[in-house]
């Protein structure tokens, strides 16, 4: 997968994740208060895609091939987490996704949950593939 395709795919995935997060947030507020209406400015949908694009650029940090060691990868994941958090926080402030500390904390919790969910899903898919590949290799492997 080349870098342009990677950025495009990640932009779509992250934009969807943000929409999902906002959906959960509005649902929580609706059930907490009994009535909740969304009144979006014209630029909010575009801002979601813009943030998705900015966050996808941070993905290049993870998929850059020279990283070989597991320790290196862990450092990159931490940096990625902080970088994306910075993008979400600054963009959220700029686009008015939150107006006070409580709003920001809600965004922060949503971000951590989505980030954890994405990584758990990714690791699960990688392990599933790994198992299938190893089973197939066992079938054709030469004798030692």
């Amino acid at each position: 997968m080349n870098k342009a395709k990677l950025i495009f795919n990640h932009t779509l995935m992250i934009s969807t994740a943000i929409l999902f997060g906002l959906g959960v947030r509005t649902a929580v507020l609706f059930f907490a208060t009994g009535s909740y209406m969304i009144n979006w400015e014209w630029y909010i949908p575009l801002s979601i895609i813009a943030v998705g694009f900015l966050c996808s650029l941070a993905s290049l940090l993870l998929y850059d091939d020279p990283a070989t060691s597991r320790a290196n990868m862990r450092v990159r994941i931490c940096l990625h987490f902080l970088l994306v958090l910075a993008v979400v926080s600054i963009s959220g402030c700029f686009f008015g996704w939150y107006s006070d500390l409580a709003g920001y904390l809600l965004i922060l919790i949503m971000y951590i949950l989505i980030y954890a969910f994405v990584w758990i899903s990714t690791v699960w898919m990688l392990r599933t593939d790994e198992k299938k590949i190893n089973e197939a290799i066992n079938e054709i492997r030469d004798e030692e």
Partner: protein, 145 residues
């Protein structure tokens, strides 16, 4: 040896069974040919050129425009380029990075890395990386969907 050839209804159902008292060199050669690993490539060892069987190759690496062929415990140089070797060696060999081809039959196991690459351990204990872009090709060759 009595040889019988039956017509199969599809390529997926093609198979060969050899019943032998002992596995001789001739039988090993026949198995290599049937498995598609009967090809040989010329390599240079201490100034002499010799033909190396594909089935003995573990991996091939290109370094500074030179191509090196690795077996279980030896390294040879060949004049062929990687793209040429890919064509010669056939289905058991996989391009695993821009500068490397690996014999899939010599992989003991793979381990998935978080950045979607695979770390492959070979039968001789060496480890190499299968780049993210080539993992799909490996899965296709192995029939893993």
């Amino acid at each position: 040896m009595k040889v019988t050839v039956n017509k199969a209804d599809s390529y997926e159902n093609e198979s060969a069974v050899i019943n032998a008292v002992t596995v001789t060199d001739d039988i090993r050669n026949a198995v290599d040919i049937l498995r598609g690993s009967g090809a040989s490539i010329p390599v240079v060892s201490e100034g002499d050129t010799l033909m190396l069987r594909a089935s003995s190759i573990y991996y091939i690496e290109s370094v500074d425009k030179r191509t090196y062929v690795y077996t279980k415990d030896a390294c040879y140089e060949t004049k062929h380029r990687l793209y040429e070797l890919e064509e010669i060696l056939g289905v058991n060999f996989l391009r695993c990075s821009k500068a490397m081809i690996v014999n899939i039959r010599k992989i003991r196991s793979v381990r998935a890395e978080l950045n979607a690459r695979l770390s492959a351990e070979l039968l001789n204990g060496e480890r190499l990386i299968i780049s993210r872009g080539y993992v799909k090709d490996l899965k296709k060759k192995l029939g893993v969907v």
